[in-house]
Symmetry: C2
Subunit: 343 residues, 2 copies
């Protein structure tokens, strides 16, 4: 057929739609249809096309397809870090849903930095992603502007207080912390300390802190002048935090850690110091990581649905893209206080 000289610019020598078409003796568009809406193509033609595809190992070029049809079948997700397993687990939830529906995930990690997040958003928009899943509700002005302009479905996770233009899949960090303090109060603890990673532009952490403070106030408990901040969310950081607290405020009878790794680290540290948990000091965590149930004594914590956070967020995006009526763009997945031995 077309006897154009092989252009000097042909890319990777991979087979194209045209190659398949030529081999089958149909036109390119028919091959395209056989792949995208097979019901429009005669079954006989379809089979011949399938054979040709198998024979030359044709793989559709989705980049060209995206350019022609504005469908990249790609969703972007940004998490603060992959080094904290809670985000990795959420991503697994996303991937489980996306792969099932023929979408792929393009991943960014912004290291808790809103400017990095903005750069990532820009890079993802350049790649024509169809939807974007962010962590938390705090974003730079530039990010918000970009997303508004881009006009694509956006979902924020781990939080419920996002902008109205974005959907959200999360839970109330405030309530979770508040309820944990209530629990500690019920158990008779009165001198509570709170340990958290830096609150900065981390709305999850700051909401937890607010919930903690509010609960102290409402329950008439003594308010500490400050929160204990840790440099990381590791076991060691938790161990160190416990040390600092016991030194600075030996009267402390319960410590609420904003995540389980810190809390588990504190429990291990208590062992080393021969302190009884919860006898000498009670400890509560957040996340319900596996270690919470396995550490000795087992850890009271707040269970959140990490995998579902991801899968629901992905579903929300895909449903929006499919034009499904989406009942609610704000999904509260809730949390549960899991009471164990440490309190």
């Amino acid at each position: 057929m077309s006897r154009k000289p092989r252009s000097p610019r042909r890319g990777h020598g991979r087979a194209t739609l045209d190659d398949v078409a030529r081999l089958t003796g149909v036109s390119a568009i028919t091959v395209s249809r056989a792949l995208r809406s097979p019901e429009l193509v005669a079954s006989q033609t379809r089979e011949k096309i399938q054979e040709a595809i198998a024979e030359i190992g044709y793989i559709p070029n989705l980049v060209a397809g995206s350019l022609a049809s504005i469908e990249s079948r790609t969703i972007a997700a940004i998490v603060p870090t992959l080094e904290n397993s809670i985000f990795a687990e959420m991503l697994q939830g996303m991937v489980d849903v996306l792969h099932g529906r023929g979408y792929q995930l393009i991943l960014g990690s912004n290291n808790y930095d809103l400017d990095e997040e903005e750069a990532l958003v820009r890079a993802f928009l350049a790649r024509q992603v169809e939807g974007m899943i962010l962590t938390g509700a705090a974003h730079s002005g530039g990010t918000t502007a970009l997303l508004d302009m881009a006009h694509l479905p956006v979902v924020e996770t781990w939080s419920l207080l996002g902008s109205p233009s974005a959907g959200s899949v999360g839970f109330s960090n405030f309530q979770a912390a508040y309820r944990t303090v209530e629990h500690l109060h019920e158990r008779g603890y009165r001198e509570l300390a709170f340990v958290s990673a830096p609150v900065g532009n981390n709305d999850r952490a700051s909401e937890r802190r607010k919930g903690f403070v509010q609960a102290l106030e409402d329950l008439g408990l003594r308010k500490r002048p400050d929160t204990f901040l840790t440099s990381s969310f590791g076991l060691r950081a938790g161990a160190e935090a416990l040390g600092v607290i016991l030194e600075r405020r030996p009267e402390t009878d319960a410590v609420f850690f904003a995540n389980d790794t810190l809390a588990a680290g504190a429990i291990l540290e208590a062992h080393r110091r021969d302190l009884a948990v919860p006898g000498d000091v009670a400890i509560a965590g957040f996340d319900d990581l596996e270690i919470a149930s396995q550490v000795i004594p087992s850890l009271t914590t707040v269970r959140v649905h990490r995998h579902a956070l991801g899968s629901k967020a992905a579903q929300l995006i895909l449903d929006t893209l499919d034009g499904h009526r989406v009942e609610s763009r704000n999904l509260d997945l809730g949390f549960e206080i899991v009471v164990r031995e440490s309190t």
Copy 2:
């Protein structure tokens, strides 16, 4: 200038190169150049173009760019699961390098299933990724064929025994296990058990097992009829495995777990059973997760460089793409036996 009627097919209403060009009074290609190789454009022109870009909020369409230039600036990675933090940490290593060089990561998780891996490879090739990072050296025939055909840099991680057409960044799982057994032997343990996740098509696990078995043989230690397999890599699975072992072979004096979560779970279980570690039974792990140093007693384990596994793999890919002379396409990152209290 061009007064074509606005085509009915214009995509998302975003600004295009042409819009910028029109606003600046230059041609599209000049704008393209201003962005891709600014040194070719007069600084005055460049500034005007930058202003125009800022004014209308132009974001380049990389999909169109990729189609025209065969550069997607996207690398794909496939890991078995994100639920195991070792892979998430490796991904963080990749992302750190890739973002720094203007590349993005597209992520797949194949759930330890080689057919899923093949489907992912196909999906990534369709997206014109420029390079691919896989976990391990075991792949389906289809995967290998696809990759050979696609003619792009491929790097395998966590292993050194990949196909010659792929690069690799890893360490010897065999040696690591072998050396751990040597260590246990030196410490006087003689009745060793090995616990691992299913070996199936997981070449890391099977190499570790082989190293364990070979070392037993070489050292004249009693060879157990089988390896103890666990259903998952969680703390609980480790605890259960310890229980099974002590019941089935009470003479066991040391257990080598193929990862730290299992090993830490076993240590916690030993606490529950009032067994002394290493007095009653010694325990060794693999990975050197943070918990290894924090658990009581602290855990002897094999340190591997998870973050570097990812960052080096990404570097290897990018260097290959840049046409840098790559000294070696096979990088042995080594490992260290970290001796702690548990042995």
